[in-house]
């Protein structure tokens, strides 16, 4: 393996990991605060990709799509939480699981109905179409942009969680939501805020994936599986754990595909099994 190939794969692993962070961290927060495994997460991410595609086709402006599509999906998430999930709080968690699974099917079939089954792609802005040289190796500018944006978002969210009042409520909620409720904080709205924010964050990933790869009607399945893997590896409910888990998965896939072509998927599941055998609760417990 040459040094450029090694470097490309390392960078690629970090890039994929950084996109995964946007999906897995929101999934982890939703589970940590609300106790809900949102099986519609991949579909909402896919919806973000398709809304982004439509906005770019209408306006020719990628930046607008990157901002507006997540807002639209966040609003849809808000409606989902208020009108479908909220009535099920306090009941058997299996009901929430089936509900989100059903919503996932509805969303993915609506996408197929309105946008069709053909593979589509979001155009990358001209300014990001070239390459940069990193230690003598050619690397696409857009991938570097993706890495920078994702990490910036992660740092912002981390600041939000650790330095603001809402962050304190969030962290307290992960530990003990009943106590938070007893202190007079309206947990219904905390749930709504977390769910809405999570949907918006995952659809940022959707727009990025739509440009980096493509928009297709099967993408939600892989996105959900990857998100769940990162959450499980990182520790359920742990934001930091989801970040670390995502980077581990990204790098594992990069080098797994390189060293054992055709067995890339085997590599990431093996990594998951090994980590869980060593630490069944995941890498981290704390948010």
């Amino acid at each position: 393996m040459s040094f450029p190939t090694f470097l490309i794969n390392l960078l690629y692993g970090f890039t994929i990991g950084s996109i995964l962070i946007l999906i897995s961290s929101s999934l982890s927060l939703i589970f940590g605060v609300m106790g809900v495994v949102n099986l519609a997460h991949g579909s909402l991410c896919m919806l973000g990709a398709y809304f982004g595609l439509t906005l770019v086709l209408w306006t020719g402006n990628f930046w607008l799509a990157l901002i507006v599509a997540p807002i639209v999906v966040a609003f849809i998430g808000f409606l989902m939480e208020v009108y479908t999930l909220r009535p099920l709080y306090g009941l058997d968690p299996l009901l929430q699981l089936f509900l989100t699974l059903g919503l996932s099917m509805i969303v993915s079939n609506l996408v197929l109905h309105f946008w069709g089954g053909d593979v589509r792609s979001i155009s990358i802005p001209e300014a990001l179409k070239g390459n940069v040289l990193i230690l003598g190796t050619v690397y696409p500018s857009f991938r570097l942009f993706v890495f920078i944006v994702s990490i910036s978002l992660v740092i912002s969210i981390w600041f939000l969680i650790t330095q603001t009042k809402w962050g304190i409520i969030l962290r307290a909620g992960v530990h003990n939501m009943e106590l938070v409720d007893a202190l007079g904080i309206n947990i219904s709205w905390v749930f709504t805020l977390v769910f809405t924010f999570g949907c918006g964050l995952s659809s940022v990933a959707g727009v990025i994936i739509g440009a980096l790869h493509n928009c297709n009607t099967n993408m939600h399945t892989d996105l959900l599986i990857w998100g769940l893997l990162a959450v499980v590896i990182g520790g359920l409910g742990s934001f930091r754990g989801a970040v670390i888990g995502s980077l581990i998965l990204g790098v594992s896939e990069a080098f797994g595909a390189l060293l054992m072509p055709g067995l890339a998927k085997f590599t990431i599941y093996t990594v998951m099994v090994v980590i869980l055998l060593l630490r069944p609760e995941g890498l981290l417990k704390e948010i």
């Binding site: 089954g117 593979v119 994936i209 595909a257 390189l258």
Partner: protein, 413 residues
């Protein structure tokens, strides 16, 4: 009170009499009109079943095949008689067979237009063989159906995995060079095609410098692109499903390999199976191997495009329409030769001998019922602001042998 009740129970009321009479008259009128219809010689309907993947990534392809078949019948004398019965195979063999059973045994279709995916096509063909039901495959090109799994009742109207790959290897060898990198999705079609290309390259004296196989749905190709960069092949060839093909081609370009002058030659016409806008400029200059281009200038293609545009104005014109149309015209030809009746044995005998000028060019069937078609190398070019797959080389006519040495094994019908 009692007397009144007794009178009511004994005979019909006036209301009942009027209702009953009306029903009787209506029934008689239907019967009479039925007699008139029979007297006029109106034939029973022709039931055409379609098993296509209406969910998943090839849903739009399925609709195009269906539209092509409908178009063929709309232009025929069977337009008023034909009934279409459509089922979704969900890209799964077991579901395909289940739907075939439903169409054949419950609905009673006279003939089937088959699936898109090779593995589903094989399963449905085997079922139709057991039921002696005519099955025409628009897209499904599993080479085994032209070989050891051939059937008297199945016609591969589109292509086989061999006929749209191996014959193009010599063009790649002569034009680009002898070092090839093979890339393919790790399933039957991907493995078959890369295997055929590898065999042809070796036969010509070329060398396989590297290979990459990945599951369907792979989003990231950076590891393979890194390999390709290191190995510096003269050409990259193989088969990837539509979504993977878009990912690979875009990333190949973003890492600078297109500008470095390494061409991609996709088999099975994969560059024409999704709207080319999905690729942006990343596809320009690359090639594929296929039996059709919307930009062919033969008379049949120009007429087909013109007539289709009149029938469905604004409908995006893509390759699968032509394949569906060819399936439809084969069914119609078979019906014509069978006196307008869905006599399967007569239809099969007729279709097997058919030679026709399709929009694709001259077409016919081999003894194994696999299509013999013209083959082209197409290149992605930007013309009038639009990316098009333009035929740059006509390779000749190719079928798929059903001999023991054939790519699918020996066909014994």
């Amino acid at each position: 009170m009692k007397k009144k009740e007794n009178r009511r129970n004994k005979g019909l009321t006036r209301r009942q009499f009027v209702m009953g009479s009306s029903l009787a008259i209506a029934g008689a009128a239907t019967g009479i009109s039925g007699v008139f219809k029979i007297a006029k010689g109106v034939s029973p309907p022709i039931k055409v079943g379609m098993i296509l993947p209406y969910t998943g990534g090839t849903a739009d392809e399925a609709r195009r095949v269906e539209t092509g078949i409908r178009f063929a019948f709309a232009r025929s004398k069977y337009a008023d008689r034909v009934e279409f019965h459509i089922e979704d195979d969900r890209e799964t063999p077991s579901v395909g067979v289940e739907k075939a059973q439903k169409l054949v045994e419950k609905v009673g279709v006279d003939m089937l237009a088959g699936p898109i995916h090779g593995h589903v096509g094989l399963a449905v063909s085997e079922y139709c063989k057991s039921k002696k039901k005519l099955c025409l495959l628009a897209f499904s090109g599993n080479v085994l159906i032209a070989g050891k799994n051939c059937s008297r009742y199945t016609f591969m109207v589109g292509h086989t995995t061999w006929s749209v790959s191996a014959p193009g290897a010599s063009y790649c060898f002569e034009k680009f060079g002898k070092k090839v990198y093979l890339i393919g999705n790790d399933y039957s079609t991907g493995r078959q095609i890369t295997g055929f290309m590898a065999a042809e390259f070796k036969r010509l004296g070329g060398s396989i410098v590297g290979e990459g196989y990945m599951p369907i749905g792979t989003a990231e190709y950076a590891p393979y692109i890194g390999q390709i960069r290191d190995l510096k092949p003269d050409v990259v060839t193989g088969f990837l499903t539509p979504s993977d093909c878009v990912n690979f081609t875009k990333q190949f370009d973003s890492f600078g390999l297109r500008k470095a002058g390494i061409p991609i030659v996709m088999c099975l016409g994969m560059y024409g199976q999704v709207p080319l806008e999905a690729y942006g400029d990343s596809i320009l200059g690359h090639y594929d191997i296929w039996h059709y281009s919307p930009w062919l200038t033969n008379k049949e293609n120009l007429e087909f495009k013109r007539d289709f545009a009149k029938w469905k104005p604004g409908y995006p014109f893509m390759d699968a329409l032509v394949l569906g149309n060819d399936v439809g015209t084969c069914m119609i030809y078979g019906l014509d030769q069978a006196g307008g009746k869905p006599d399967i044995e007569r239809m099969v005998d007729a279709i097997a001998k058919r030679e026709w000028l399709s929009p694709r060019g001259k077409s016919s069937f081999g003894p194994n019922h696999a299509i013999i078609h013209d083959l082209y190398i197409r290149q992605a070019q930007k013309i009038e602001g639009e990316t098009r797959m333009i035929p740059v080389k006509e390779l000749g006519r190719f079928g798929t042998s059903g001999d023991a040495s054939g790519p699918g094994g020996e066909c014994k019908m």
